[in-house]
C-alpha cells in the first residue's frame, strides 16, 4: 500500500474522531450529557488501559515469554471484580473534593500540600515518559511495516520524522480537545467519547486478526492447541515470582496510572458506572487477550526468523495477502496508541499546570495572580505542558534508539506509578497517615525504583557505570542496583517491585507514626476516610466573616469564568435569603467555593488563592476538638451547635438587613415627597415669575418671545415629570398595555444608542458591541425595551468617570432568556448604594441637575418586570455594570 494513501487514511480516521469529539462537546454544551455519561461509555473509556503495548506488544511478549503477558490483564481483573469498593471510595472522594488528578488527590488529602503534589507529578511524568515513547515507537514501527512492503519503501532514517509527526499531531488533537475550556472538575466529554470509539475499533481489529489467524490460517481451535503445544519454547515456563509480582504491580497500576485515574475518577465516574465496569472491563480485557497466544504461535511458525514479533498483528495478515485486515489492524494499533497518549498527556498536563506552574506563578507574582486572567494562564500552562510531555516522550524514544521491546518499557512505567499506591490507599483508609510519612514513602519508593529499574534499563555504562552494577553505589556491596542488601539472584523486575514496595510502605508507615499532622491535614484526613458519612465534609477551616464577598466574586470570575461564577454566587445568595449576587461569606460558602475552584486549579492552589483573600486558614479550638474526637456524638453535638449558631447569626444578619432597608425606605419616602415637591415647584417658579412679568405688559417684543419660550420649556418639563410619575404608577400597578411584536435586538440597541447620544454629546464615548450576538429576534415590547436601554446608556454617558469612557454591551443567550450587559469602565457604584439605585428619586449625588428627576432606573425596573424580566446591578465587574434579563418570547401571563 502506498505510504501516502496510508497517511491519508489515518488523517481521515483522525478527522472522524475529531467530529465525534466535536459533536459530543456540542451536546454536552447543550446540557445533554446523560447519554455521554452512561456506564457503557465509562467502561469503554477505561479501555485506555490497553495501549499499543497490548495491541502490538502483548503478541511479542507472548512470543518471548509465553503466558506471562496475561498477568498484565489479570491484575486489573482482580481489582475490578472484587475491589471496586476501593475504586468506589476513590470516585466518591473525587467527586466530593473535585479532584483534578491523582497528584491533586494526594496533595489534597495531606493538608493541600504543594510538595506532595510536586512529588507525585514528578513521579508521574518520569514514569509516563517511557510509556509515551512506547506508543510513539509502536506507531512508527507500524508505519514502517506497512511501507516496507512497497517498492518505494522508505528507509529507516524516516522513522524519526514519522515519530515527530505523530507526536506533533497528537499534541495538536490533545490541545484542541483537552484544553478547550477550563471546566470545573476537568471533564472532557469529547475526548471521552472519542476514546470510547477507539476502544471499539481496537477490540474489533484485534478480534478480527485473531479470528482470521485461528480459523483462516490455522484451521480451527483444535489445530491451534496442537500447534501451541508443538511450539513450546524454552522461555515459556511460568516463573512464580514474576507471575505474582506482575499481577500485583498491574493491579496497582490500574488504579495509579494518571490516565486511568483520569478516566476513572476525574472524568466523572459514578457508582452505577462501577457496577457495570466491575465485570464488563475484565470481560473487555479477556477478549483483548484471547487471541494473543494463537497469533504469537502462528506468527513464530509462519514468519521468517528474525522478524519482530511485536508486529505480528500487522505482518501476519500482510504476509497472507489480507491487505484490508492489515489496515484494520493498523487502525486498531493507531487507536490504542493515540487514545493513550491523549488522555495521558491531558492528565499529566493538568498535574504540571496545577502543581508546578500555578504555585510557582502564585509565589513569583502574587499580585498578578490575584488580578490577572487566571484562566488564560492555566490553559496556556496546560498547552505548554502537553507539548512538553510529548516532547519528553519523543526524546526518550530517540534516546532509547527505538529498539527496546515494548513490554519492558511498559513494565517500568507500571512499577514506577505503583509507588503511589501505598500513599493513596493509606490516605483514603488510614486517618493516621501524615504528610511527612507520605513524602517519605513516595521519595523512598521512587528512589528505589529509579535506582533498581529505570537507570539499569539503559544498560551498564549508560546512566549507571559498570562499577555500580558490580560493586554497588559508592562501592557499598549491599547497594548493587539488582541485588539490594546482598540478595542476588532475583529477577530484576521482581527485585525492583519487591524492594520498592517494602521500603516505600515502611517509610510511609514509620513517617506517619512518628509525625503529627497539621490541622488542615487532619480535617482533610477525616473528610477522605469518612467520605461515605453524611457529614463527612466536617468542620470548615475558614474563619467567619473575614472575606469580602465582592473580592471573592472577582477572583472566582477569573478562574471559573464570569457566568458560572455569577450563577454560583447568585444561587448561594438566594439560599441565604438575600437578593442580588453577593452572599455572606460564611465558612460553608467559602469552603464550597474553594472546592469549586479546586476543580479547576487543584486543591493546593485554590487553598492558597482563597487564603490571600480570607487570610490564613484558621481552625478554631472547637473545630480541632471535633476532628480529633473520634466519638460521633460529640461531633454531632458540636455540629448541631455550630448549625444553630450559623442559623441564628444568619437570621440576625437577615433582620439587620431588613431593618436597614426599612429605615432607608422611610428616609426615602420623606425624600420622595420632598423631591416631588422640588421637581414640581422648580419649573413652576419660572412659569409664575415670567407670566407675572408678561402680564404687566410694556416689554420689548424680543423679551416677550424669549420669556414666552421659557414658560413653554418649563411647562414641558413639568409635563414630562408628570408623565414619568404616571408611567411609573401604571407600571407599578401592572396595568400597562404592552405592544408585543417580533423585534431585532440589534436594531433596538441601535435606536437606544442614537437616542442616548444627546446626553453629554460633548464627550467622546466609546461603545464596544458584539454585533453577531446581538443579531437575534425577540418577541417583546420593543419601545419599552428601548426605553430601558436608553436609560442605561445615558446613565453610563452621564456618570462614567473614566478619562476615556467606554461602554461594553454584551449579549448572551441562555435557556430561553437573553442577558444584555451594559458595563462601563468607570469606578462603578459603591456597595452601600447598590441596593437603593433602583428606588425612586435615588440619586447618588446632590447633582440634581445631572439628569431627570431620578426616576429612570425605577422605571427601568418596572418596565423589565412587566416584560417578564429584570434589570440588576452586577457587582465585581470593575465599572458600573447593569444586566437586563428578559425572555426570548414573552409569556402570555407575563403580558
Amino acid at each position: 500500500m502506498p505510504f501516502n494513501l496510508l497517511v491519508l487514511f489515518c488523517l481521515c480516521y483522525v478527522a472522524m474522531l475529531f467530529c465525534v469529539a466535536f459533536l459530543a462537546e456540542r451536546r454536552a454544551a447543550e446540557g445533554r450529557v446523560r447519554w455521554l455519561r452512561s456506564p457503557a461509555i465509562y467502561t469503554l473509556s477505561l479501555s485506555i488501559y490497553c495501549t499499543a503495548w497490548t495491541f502490538y506488544g502483548a503478541v511479542g511478549y507472548a512470543a518471548r515469554s509465553g503466558l506471562e503477558f496475561v498477568t498484565i490483564y489479570l491484575g486489573p481483573t482482580l481489582v475490578f471484580v472484587g475491589w471496586w469498593w476501593v475504586l468506589r471510595k476513590l470516585v466518591r472522594i473525587g467527586r466530593q473534593q473535585r479532584v483534578t488528578s491523582i497528584a491533586d488527590l494526594i496533595s489534597s488529602r495531606f493538608g493541600k500540600s504543594n510538595i506532595l503534589g510536586v512529588v507525585v507529578t514528578l513521579i508521574a511524568v518520569i514514569a509516563a515518559t517511557p510509556y509515551i515513547a512506547l506508543q510513539l515507537q509502536s506507531v512508527t514501527l507500524s508505519f514502517a511495516v506497512f511501507a516496507s512492503g512497497t517498492p518505494e519503501g522508505w528507509a529507516l532514517p524516516n522513522r524519526d520524522a514519522t515519530a515527530i509527526w505523530v507526536a506533533g499531531g497528537l499534541a495538536l488533537f490533545t490541545i484542541l480537545f483537552g484544553t478547550r475550556n477550563l471546566d470545573a472538575k476537568e471533564q472532557h466529554h469529547g475526548v471521552v467519547l472519542a476514546i470510547a470509539v477507539e476502544a471499539v475499533v481496537k477490540l474489533v481489529a484485534l478480534l478480527a486478526v485473531g479470528i482470521f489467524v485461528v480459523w483462516g490460517i490455522a484451521g480451527g481451535a483444535q489445530e491451534v492447541f496442537a500447534r501451541i503445544d508443538a511450539t513450546q519454547a524454552a522461555g515459556w515456563t511460568l516463573q512464580p515470582d514474576r507471575w505474582i509480582g506482575m499481577i500485583a504491580v498491574s493491579g496497582a497500576a490500574v488504579i495509579c496510572l494518571p490516565r486511568m485515574f483520569q478516566v476513572m475518577v476525574v472524568e466523572g465516574g459514578e457508582d452505577r458506572h462501577l457496577a457495570l465496569a466491575s465485570w464488563a472491563f475484565p470481560a473487555y480485557l479477556l477478549l483483548m487477550s484471547l487471541f494473543i497466544v494463537p497469533i504469537a504461535v502462528i506468527g513464530l511458525e509462519r514468519m521468517p526468523a528474525g522478524s519482530n514479533p511485536d508486529m505480528f498483528v500487522l505482518t501476519l495478515p500482510l504476509a497472507e495477502g489480507q491487505g484490508g485486515l492489515a489496515l484494520l489492524a493498523f487502525l486498531g494499533g493507531f487507536s490504542s496508541a493515540t487514545s493513550m497518549v491523549i488522555v495521558e498527556s491531558i492528565a499529566l498536563a493538568t498535574m504540571v499546570s496545577n502543581h508546578i506552574v500555578m504555585p510557582l506563578w502564585l509565589r513569583l507574582a502574587p499580585k498578578a495572580a490575584m488580578k490577572g486572567d487566571v484562566r488564560r494562564i492555566v490553559l496556556l500552562a496546560r498547552r505548554l505542558s502537553i507539548v512538553g510531555v510529548l516532547g519528553l516522550g519523543y526524546a526518550y524514544y530517540r534516546m532509547s534508539g527505538g529498539s527496546a521491546a515494548l513490554a519492558a518499557m511498559g513494565l517500568i512505567a507500571f512499577a514506577g506509578m505503583a509507588q503511589v499506591l501505598p500513599v493513596l490507599l493509606g490516605g483514603i483508609f488510614w486517618r493516621g497517615a501524615t504528610k511527612a510519612g507520605a513524602v517519605a514513602g513516595l521519595v523512598t519508593g521512587f528512589a528505589v525504583w529509579a535506582f533498581t529499574l529505570l537507570l539499569p534499563f539503559f544498560g551498564p555504562g549508560t546512566l549507571l557505570p559498570q562499577a555500580v552494577f558490580d560493586h554497588g553505589l559508592f562501592g557499598l556491596g549491599w547497594l548493587r542496583p539488582q541485588a539490594l542488601f546482598g540478595i542476588a539472584g532475583m529477577d530484576p523486575l521482581v527485585h525492583a517491585i519487591f524492594w520498592s514496595a517494602v521500603l516505600n510502605t515502611a517509610a510511609f508507615c514509620a513517617g506517619s507514626l512518628l509525625t503529627f499532622p497539621g490541622p488542615v491535614e487532619r480535617m482533610q484526613g477525616a473528610a477522605f476516610v469518612n467520605v461515605f458519612d453524611a457529614d463527612a465534609a466536617g468542620p470548615q477551616g475558614w474563619a467567619r466573616g473575614r472575606a469580602e464577598p465582592e473580592a471573592l466574586l472577582m477572583m472566582a470570575q477569573r478562574i471559573l469564568g464570569e457566568e458560572p461564577a455569577l450563577a454560583l454566587f447568585e444561587a448561594e445568595a438566594r439560599a441565604q435569603g438575600k437578593a442580588g449576587y453577593l452572599p455572606d461569606a460564611t465558612p460553608d460558602f467559602v469552603a464550597g467555593l474553594e472546592r469549586r475552584l479546586a476543580g479547576s486549579v487543584g486543591a493546593a492552589t485554590a487553598h492558597a488563592m482563597i487564603s490571600q483573600i480570607v487570610g490564613r486558614a484558621t481552625v478554631s479550638v472547637e473545630d480541632l476538638m471535633a476532628v480529633a474526637n473520634e466519638t460521633a456524638q460529640i461531633m454531632e453535638y458540636s455540629a448541631q451547635l455550630e448549625a444553630q449558631r450559623e442559623e441564628l447569626s444568619r437570621t440576625a444578619g437577615a433582620l439587620r438587613e431588613a431593618n436597614e432597608k426599612l429605615t432607608q425606605l422611610s428616609v426615602q419616602k420623606d425624600a420622595f415627597l420632598s423631591q416631588i415637591s422640588h421637581e414640581l415647584r422648580t419649573p413652576m417658579t419660572s412659569i409664575r415669575a415670567f407670566s407675572e412679568v408678561l402680564t404687566e405688559g410694556d416689554l420689548p417684543p424680543e423679551l416677550v418671545a424669549n420669556y414666552g419660550r421659557i414658560i413653554h420649556d418649563e411647562a414641558i418639563r413639568l409635563t414630562r415629570l408628570l408623565d414619568d410619575l404616571l408611567d411609573l404608577s401604571v407600571l407599578e400597578n401592572g396595568s400597562v398595555q404592552l405592544n408585543l411584536s417580533l423585534v431585532n435586538l440589534q436594531q433596538l440597541l441601535d435606536r437606544a444608542l442614537a437616542a442616548a447620544s444627546h446626553t453629554r454629546p460633548e464627550r467622546s464615548f466609546t461603545v464596544i458591541r458584539d454585533l453577531p450576538a446581538e443579531n437575534l429576534f425577540l418577541r417583546t415590547d420593543g419601545d419599552r425595551l428601548v426605553q430601558v436601554f436608553i436609560n442605561l446608556v445615558s446613565n453610563a454617558r452621564k456618570y462614567c468617570d473614566a478619562a476615556s469612557p467606554a461602554l461594553t454591551i454584551s449579549v448572551r443567550q441562555r435557556a430561553g432568556r437573553v442577558h444584555v450587559d451594559f458595563t462601563d469602565n468607570g469606578t462603578g457604584i459603591a456597595k452601600q448604594h447598590q441596593a437603593i439605585i433602583f428606588e425612586k428619586f435615588a440619586r447618588l449625588s446632590d447633582q440634581h441637575r445631572a439628569g431627570g428627576a431620578g426616576l429612570g432606573l425605577a422605571i427601568c425596573r418596572e418596565v423589565m418586570a412587566n416584560l417578564g424580566g429584570q434589570v440588576s446591578y452586577l457587582p465585581g465587574r470593575g465599572g458600573a455594570s447593569f444586566r437586563v434579563t428578559l425572555p426570548l418570547r414573552i409569556g402570555r401571563q407575563a403580558a
Binding site: G66, L67, V70, L74, T77, L78, V79, F80, V81, G82, W83, W84, W85, K89, F225, A226, I228, D229, Q232, W236, T237, L238, Q239, P240, W243, I244, I247, D271, R272, A275, L276, S278, W279, A280, P282, A283, L286, S289, L290, V293, F429, W430, V529, N530, F532, D533, A534, D535, A632, E636, A639, Q640, A643
Partner: protein, 92 residues
C-alpha cells in the same frame, strides 16, 4: 440535618451485605485459582492447557462479578449505605 441511623436498623439489607462480602472475597479466590498452574506442573510446559485453564478461570471471575454486581445493583442506593452505622469501607 442528616444523622446516622441506629445500629441494626437495616436488617433487610443483610443479604446485600453478604453479597458485598462475597464480592470482596472474589479476588482472593481468583488469586488462588490463578496460582494453581504454578503449583500443578511446577510451571513447566503445557502452555495450551494452562492457557485454557486461565481463560476459563477468568471467564468464571467475570461471570461471578456480573452476577454479584446485578445483586448489588438492586441495593436501595448508596445513600442508604452512606447512612449505615458501620461503613464496611473502614480498614479492618
Amino acid at each position: 440535618m442528616a444523622r446516622r441511623v441506629p445500629l441494626f436498623l437495616k436488617r433487610r439489607s443483610y443479604r446485600q451485605r453478604r453479597l458485598r462480602d462475597a464480592a470482596r472475597l472474589l479476588p482472593l479466590v481468583g488469586m488462588f485459582l490463578l496460582l494453581v498452574p504454578l503449583i500443578g506442573a511446577g510451571g513447566a510446559g503445557n502452555t495450551a492447557g494452562h492457557g485454557l485453564y486461565l481463560f476459563l478461570v477468568w471467564l468464571g471471575l467475570v461471570a461471578a462479578a456480573a452476577a454479584l454486581s446485578a445483586g448489588l445493583g438492586s441495593d436501595p442506593g448508596d445513600d442508604g449505605e452512606a447512612d449505615s452505622p458501620a461503613p464496611p469501607d473502614r480498614p479492618r
